[in-house]
Amino acid sequence: MPGKFVSKKIFKVTVICFLAIGLIIFNPHNLFSGLRNFFMIVTLPAQKVFSSSAIKMASFGEAVTSIGKIRKENKYLIEENLRLRAEGAKFGEAVAENEMLRNQLNILPKDKFEIESANVIGRDIYNNNDWILIDRGESSGIKKGMPVIVSEGVLIGRVEEVFPSSAKVIFISNPLMNTNVETLETGAVGLAKGNYGLGIIMDLVLQTDSLKVGDKVMTSDISQNIPRGLFIGEIKEVSPVRNDLFQKAIISSPVDFLKLRFVFIIKNS
């Protein structure tokens, strides 16, 4: 009798597993896209309630944990301020360069592009910094492939899937996203791509091009649907492979993907 019970269980699991494998292999996306849209629409109010509570809780937690640090930080900041004021004079040149870079960055969005703001209402289950869910979708004119930035003009990803009132945005650290980039300082061109939540890699850079730690990486004009000049990050590490045709670098993004609350979608890029 127990033997019979176990085989019945195995039979059930095997049938379901085969069905699931069939679904994965044949991947009838259209068959389920309607269903996915339906679930996304029906559950959007609940998602908004949960996400706003989560944000309030996170802000409250931050405020509580920061109280103890404030006095310590204040003392440190007063000393730091004095030191920086003394050092400020030395960095006139760097300030001018920084100003130039800022100007280049400010060419970007706000006046040039049609931007739609969106709240983050969901996040990747495994927290690999791979994707988020936002509360703007087809009804707000969002389309697949539109670039997504944060307010400072930093590219964080692109719209991957659009639902009637929400959309899935994959981050630049997602392996599905490849972006043509160039460095601001030397003009070295390459391809920025994600590496399973491990960060952003600048790949396919010719050995003849120069890459330095600290170089600023921007989108280049040959990026499909992504406008030129969006900031991606700075080079953190260069790993030239001498025998290889190309060199690689690791890009460090200024954005903390885990802290994102609002994003902007460029609609007319």
Binding site: I10, I16, A20, S51, A54, V120, R123, I125, L198
Partner: protein, 180 residues
């Protein structure tokens, strides 16, 4: 109908807590997968037979909300539910210490398998990528330890909640039988 609605509410609550609450409220790099914990809690409290169809539904909703394709989470949850049921039948889960240990083992195995399935079925599938990503995942001891401790804490909340609901369902069914 009441039984159906109660179990449906549990599934939806877990999905929303995961998608729009936990992953947003906690900014740490190690957030537990509540659905895996629910599968363990269900198998431990109500057994495989009673909950299997709900576990498939949970997998389906996970695919709808979290995955690109439909199927990976159904496959994973079915397999994992069987594994939990198979192992827990061979050990005495009611005993306090062995039960605790066994649940901890299930949580650790579930988290690892979940990550392996996620890497296998999302994005570009290649052995090089899988071995590289898994190496990175296991190399981060903080992620492994804190992630599993956190999952253990969540599990006991889920367990007591699910246990309460399942006991209520049993009482409700018994009352119905007596009335009939």
């Amino acid at each position: 109908m009441k039984k159906f609605l109660l179990r449906l509410s549990i599934v939806l609550l877990i999905i929303f807590l995961q998608l729009s609450f936990l992953n947003l409220a906690l900014r740490a790099d190690y957030v537990a997968n509540l659905s895996i914990l629910l599968v363990i809690a269900w198998i431990v409290t109500s057994g495989f037979e009673k909950t299997f169809k709900w576990i498939i539904f949970l997998g389906f909703l996970n695919d709808i909300f979290f995955a690109d394709k439909i199927g990976p989470n159904i496959l994973f949850f079915s397999f994992f539910a069987y594994l939990v049921s198979f192992i827990s039948k061979r050990f005495i889960i009611e005993r306090r210490f062995s039960g605790f240990l066994l649940v901890a083992v299930f949580i650790v195995i579930g988290s690892y398998l979940g990550n392996i399935f996620d890497i296998m079925f999302e994005g570009s599938f290649s052995l090089e990528n899988i071995s590289f990503s898994m190496g990175h995942y296991f190399a981060s001891w903080q992620r492994v330890i804190y992630g599993n401790i956190l999952a253990g804490i969540y599990f006991y909340f889920i367990y007591f909640f699910v246990n309460g609901v399942e006991k209520y369902i049993s009482r409700f069914e018994d009352r119905l039988k007596i009335t009939l």
